[in-house]
C-alpha cells in the first residue's frame, strides 16, 4: 500500500489511497480507523463512512469489498496524487 501520511484523527493509522468497488473513485482512507478524506487536504475534517461496508461517498460502490483495493502507482498517477505519496508500507 502506498501511504500518504499518518492519520491525524487516530494518530496511528497509515493513510492509503483507496479505489472504490464501482466507479473506481479514489479517496484517502486510514487503515486503522477508516477516517476518510476526499481531497489531499488532510487538515480538513475527515468523513466516517458507515461501517462495515464503507459506502463510497462518490458513487454506489463501497471501499470494503472486492474489487475495492489500495491504489497502485498508476492509479495514483492518474488521480494526480503522486506528489503526496510518502512511501510504501511493508
Amino acid at each position: 500500500m502506498y501511504y500518504v501520511g499518518i492519520c491525524p484523527f487516530c494518530e496511528q493509522g497509515n493513510l492509503g489511497i483507496r479505489i472504490c468497488s464501482k466507479e473506481g473513485d479514489a479517496v484517502i482512507l486510514c487503515d486503522e480507523c477508516d477516517a476518510l478524506w476526499l481531497s489531499t487536504d488532510l487538515n480538513s475534517k475527515p468523513l466516517f463512512p458507515e461501517q462495515p461496508n464503507l459506502p463510497c461517498p462518490c458513487c454506489q460502490g463501497n471501499l470494503s469489498d472486492d474489487p475495492a483495493r489500495w491504489a497502485n502507482f498508476g492509479e495514483i498517477y492518474i488521480k494526480g496524487w503522486v506528489h503526496i505519496v510518502k512511501g510504501e508500507t511493508g
Binding site: Y3, I6, F9, C10, E11, Q12, G13, N14, D31, E32, C33, D34, K45, F48, Q51, P52, S64, K86, G87, T89, G90
Partner: protein, 258 residues
Amino acid sequence: MNQPNKRLRTKASSLGWTAAIVLFLIIYSVIQSQRNQTNDQSVLNSEESRAQNVLDPLKEASHQSNTAKDEGAQQSDLGQQKEPNVSKSKSYPVASSPVSKKQTPANSNRPPPLNSSQRSTTAKTKPELGQLRDLGGKVWESAAGLKYGPGSREKHRLLHIMRHAEDQPNRPGKHGVFAGEGERKKVLAVIDEAYLKALKGGKKVERKKEGNRIVYTIDMDRRIGFVGGQVGNKQGKPSAYKIRLVLEGTNVITAFPL
C-alpha cells in the same frame, strides 16, 4: 333438695369448661392464621428483594454460559488465537452448585429452596474482562459491553485489533503493541478495563467526540505494552502506558497502546 342443686352445679360447670375450651380453640386458630400470614408476607418480601439482587448476576450467568460455547465457535471463525480460552470460560459455575443438593422440606419453617436462577447469586458469576459472547451476525460483545463486528481490511474488528498483539517493525509511524504474548483474551481484557475506566472519567481519561465517533485516551497507570512500528523501533520500543479506543457507540473501530 341437695341432689338437684348438685346436678345443676355440675351441669353449669361442664358448660363453663366447654365454653372455655371452645374460646381457647377460637383464639388459638386466629393467632395461628395471623402467624401464617406474617410468614407468607416475609417470604414474599424476601423473594422480591432476592429477585432484584439476582437480576444482574442472572444476566451475567447467561452471558457466561454463552461465552464458553461462543469462544469455541470463535476459535474456528476467527482463529488467530495462540492460546485457547475455552477451558477457562467453562470454569464458570453457572448451572451446578452444591447448594442445589441440600433441599429443605416443603412444610418446614426454613426458607424455600433456591431455584436455579437464585442459585446463581451464590455462585461466582462475574464474567472475566476480555470474555466474549456471540450476539449473532458475527458480532461479539465483551464483558464490559464493547462490540466487535465485521469491518476493516481484516474483515473483522477482532482480527483488526489483534494486529496490535505483535509488532510491525516496518509499519510507518508508530504501531502500538499490547503486552500479553499475543493472547487475545489478555488483549481484550485490557481494552475492557480501559473502557470501564473511560466510562468513569477523571483526570486519566481524555475524550474526543467527532460525529458518531468517540476517541478515548486512557492512562492505565502501568505498562500495558510498547510502541513499535518504525518510530517505536527507532526509539528502542518505549513502554506504553496509555490505550486509545476509537468507538462508534459501543462498537469498537480500533484500540491500541500508545
